[in-house]
C-alpha cells in the first residue's frame, strides 16, 4: 500500500465533520466525488487533505455540483469500489434525483449528510429539513447525536451498505454546526481496527469486471417497474435491521460502544417520553434526569435508524408510556409532522392509551433549550394527570410572536 497509517490518540478532540473524515480515511474510500456546501464541506476537505498528505490512496473528484457529485459516486460505485461523499441542505436537494437512482441501482454509497435547513429564506444552520427530504429515497438513514456517533456510524454504514444481501446506499446524518462544528472527545479506532471492521470492498455486478459485462440503469415500464420497486422495499424492510444489529454487535465487541436501532433512555418505567433525533436527544436525556429528581418519570427515545423505520421497535419501547411528545425539527408545511405521523402510525392498532402530542422546534438552527424541555415534560405530566391532552396536538417551541399551535 502506498500510503501511511496515522497514529491516533485513544481519545481525540474532533468535531463531527473531522470525525467523519477520519472514518472515511480509515475505511480507505476508493473514490470521493464531492462538491462543497456548508456545513458539510470539512468532511471532503478532510479526505482531500489526507490524500494530499499520503494517508489514504484513492481518487478525489471535485465536481461542479452536488448532482454531479452523486452522479460520479454512482458511476464509481457501479464500476466496483468503495465510494463516499458528503453534503447538506440545498446540495442535498439538488442531489435528490440521483439519490433515487443510486438506491434503485442498489449501489452501496455512503453519504454523510450534515443536516441543515432548506431555503427560502436561506439558512446555513442545522435543522432536519434535508434529512426529511431523503426519507422516501430508498436509502438507509442513520442518525448521529454527537461527533463520536458520526465517527462510529460511518463504519457501521459501510459494513451494512456493502453487504451483498443489502446493497443499499446509506446516509449518516449529523446536525449542522451543533455536531459538525462542535469539538468533543472522540474515542478512536486504530487504522487497522477501523479497516479491519469494514473489510476489503467486495465487488458485485461491477462494470470493471470485463469478463462479465453488465447493464446498469435500465428502463422498466408498467410491466416490470412495480416488481423492482417492491423488491427494493422488501430488502429495506427485511434485510437491513438484522445486518445493522449484527454490525452494532460486532462494533460493540471492537470498541465497547453499544448502538441500538432505537436508543432508549430511562424508558423502562417512564410515564412520559420525548421522541426526537439528532443533538436534541442528548439535551432531552439531561432534562429527563432532572425531571426524575422532581418526581416525573421521564424518558427519552432517540431514533438511531430513520430508514428503514423501526416500526416494531417503537411500538415495543412506547407500549407502557402514558404521554408522548414527538419532536419534529422541520417545518411540517401543512401536516402534523413527519415524525409525529410515523409515531402515530406505529401506535395505531395497538393497546396503548398513550396521549400523543407533537412539537415543532429548532428550525434554522434555533436552540432547543433545557427550559423548553422542562416545560414540555411538565405539559406531558399534566396530560397524564388529567387523563387527556390539555394542549393542541401541534405546538411550536421557541418561535417569537403569539403562541402558535394547531389541531
Amino acid at each position: 500500500m502506498a500510503f501511511d497509517k496515522m497514529e491516533l490518540r485513544d481519545i481525540e478532540v474532533w468535531d463531527g465533520n473531522f470525525a467523519a473524515a477520519q472514518a472515511l480515511r480509515q475505511c480507505q474510500i476508493d473514490v470521493v466525488a464531492a462538491y462543497p456546501i456548508t456545513p458539510s464541506t470539512p468532511i471532503v476537505e478532510g479526505y482531500a487533505k489526507f490524500l494530499a498528505d499520503g494517508y489514504v490512496e484513492g481518487e478525489f473528484v471535485m465536481v461542479e455540483s452536488e448532482h454531479a457529485a452523486m452522479s460520479g459516486c454512482i458511476g464509481a460505485a457501479a464500476a466496483g469500489g468503495r465510494v463516499a461523499t458528503a453534503t447538506s441542505s440545498q446540495g442535498f436537494a439538488l442531489m435528490v434525483e440521483t439519490l433515487y437512482q443510486a438506491s434503485g441501482m442498489r449501489l452501496p454509497i455512503v453519504l454523510n449528510v450534515v443536516n441543515r435547513a432548506l431555503a427560502a429564506p436561506l439558512n446555513v444552520n442545522g435543522d432536519h429539513s434535508d434529512m426529511y427530504l431523503g426519507r422516501d429515497s430508498g436509502w438507509i438513514q442513520l442518525d448521529a447525536y454527537c461527533p463520536q456517533d458520526a465517527y462510529d456510524l460511518n463504519f457501521i454504514a459501510f459494513k451494512v451498505s456493502e453487504d451483498h444481501e443489502v446493497r443499499l446506499p446509506c446516509m449518516v446524518h449529523q446536525d449542522g454546526f451543533m455536531t459538525s462544528h462542535t469539538a468533543q472527545g472522540v474515542k478512536t479506532l486504530t487504522d487497522d481496527q477501523g479497516y479491519g471492521f469494514v473489510g476489503e470492498y467486495k465487488p458485485m455486478n461491477d462494470m470493471l469486471d470485463f469478463e462479465h459485462p453488465v447493464t446498469h440503469g435500465v428502463q422498466t415500464e408498467e410491466d416490470w417497474h412495480f416488481e423492482h420497486k417492491a423488491r427494493q422495499h422488501n430488502d429495506l424492510m427485511t434485510k437491513v435491521f438484522p445486518k445493522i444489529e449484527a454490525a452494532f454487535d460486532a462494533f460493540e465487541k471492537l470498541s465497547g460502544r453499544k448502538y441500538n436501532i432505537v436508543e432508549k433512555y430511562d424508558m423502562d418505567d417512564a410515564d412520559v417520553s420525548v421522541v426526537c433525533m439528532g443533538t436534541s436527544v442528548e439535551t432531552a436525556r439531561e432534562v429527563a434526569t432532572e425531571m426524575r429528581a422532581k418526581g416525573i418519570k421521564a424518558g427519552v427515545v432517540g431514533l438511531r435508524v430513520i430508514r428503514p423505520f423501526p416500526f416494531m421497535q417503537i411500538q415495543e419501547v412506547l407500549k407502557d408510556v402514558k404521554a408522548i411528545a414527538v419532536l419534529d425539527r422541520s417545518s411540517p408545511n401543512g401536516a402534523p409532522g413527519m415524525l409525529f405521523n410515523e409515531i402515530a402510525g406505529c401506535l395505531f392498532n395497538t393497546d396503548t392509551k398513550a396521549l400523543l402530542s407533537g412539537y415543532v422546534y429548532g428550525l434554522g438552527g434555533r436552540d432547543l433549550t433545557k427550559k423548553h424541555l422542562v416545560d414540555l415534560f411538565t405539559e406531558l405530566q399534566a396530560n397524564v394527570d388529567a387523563g387527556k391532552i390539555l394542549t393542541p396536538l401541534q405546538q411550536f417551541i421557541g418561535v417569537r410572536g403569539p403562541k402558535l399551535s394547531f389541531l
Binding site: G104, M105, R106, L107, R167, N205, F210, E211, H212, P213, V214, T215, H216, G217, V218, T220, D223, W224, F226, E227, H228, A230, R231, Q232, N234, D235
Partner: protein
Amino acid sequence: MAKRGWDEFEIGAMLRSFDGVSNDIATTLQEDRNYSQSNSFVASVADWRIAKPVFNKDFCIDCQFCWIYCPDMSIIARDKKMIGVDMDHCKGCGICVEVCPTNPKSLLMFPEQADEEAELSQWPAKDKETK
C-alpha cells in the same frame, strides 16, 4: 422472457449481456458468443417490417457499404464477404439497398410476403441510364 415475480430477479434491475465468462467479445463473432436471455440479440423485430431486403449474391462486390451503414447489425459479413441478411434483426429500413453501388443492385426491397426465390429469378437487369 417470462414475467417473473418481484423475488425472482437480480437486484437493481441489473442485466447481463452473456452467460458465464466472456472474454475477447470484440473479436468473437455472434455465432460463438454465449448470449444471455437478456441480450436483445435473442429477440426479434422481424414483425416491424413491411418490406424486406433480398440479397442477390450474383452481383455483390463485397464492398461492405451495406454492412457499415446498416443500423441494425443485420448485414452478415464474414471473412470480408457479405453472406446475407439477419432477418430477426432487420427492421426493413432499406438503407442497405440505397447504399448498394452495384448495377443492378445486389439488394432490393420487396414486400414482406414476397417469395424470395421468385424475386431472385426475376432480378432486374443492368440499368443503362445510370452508369
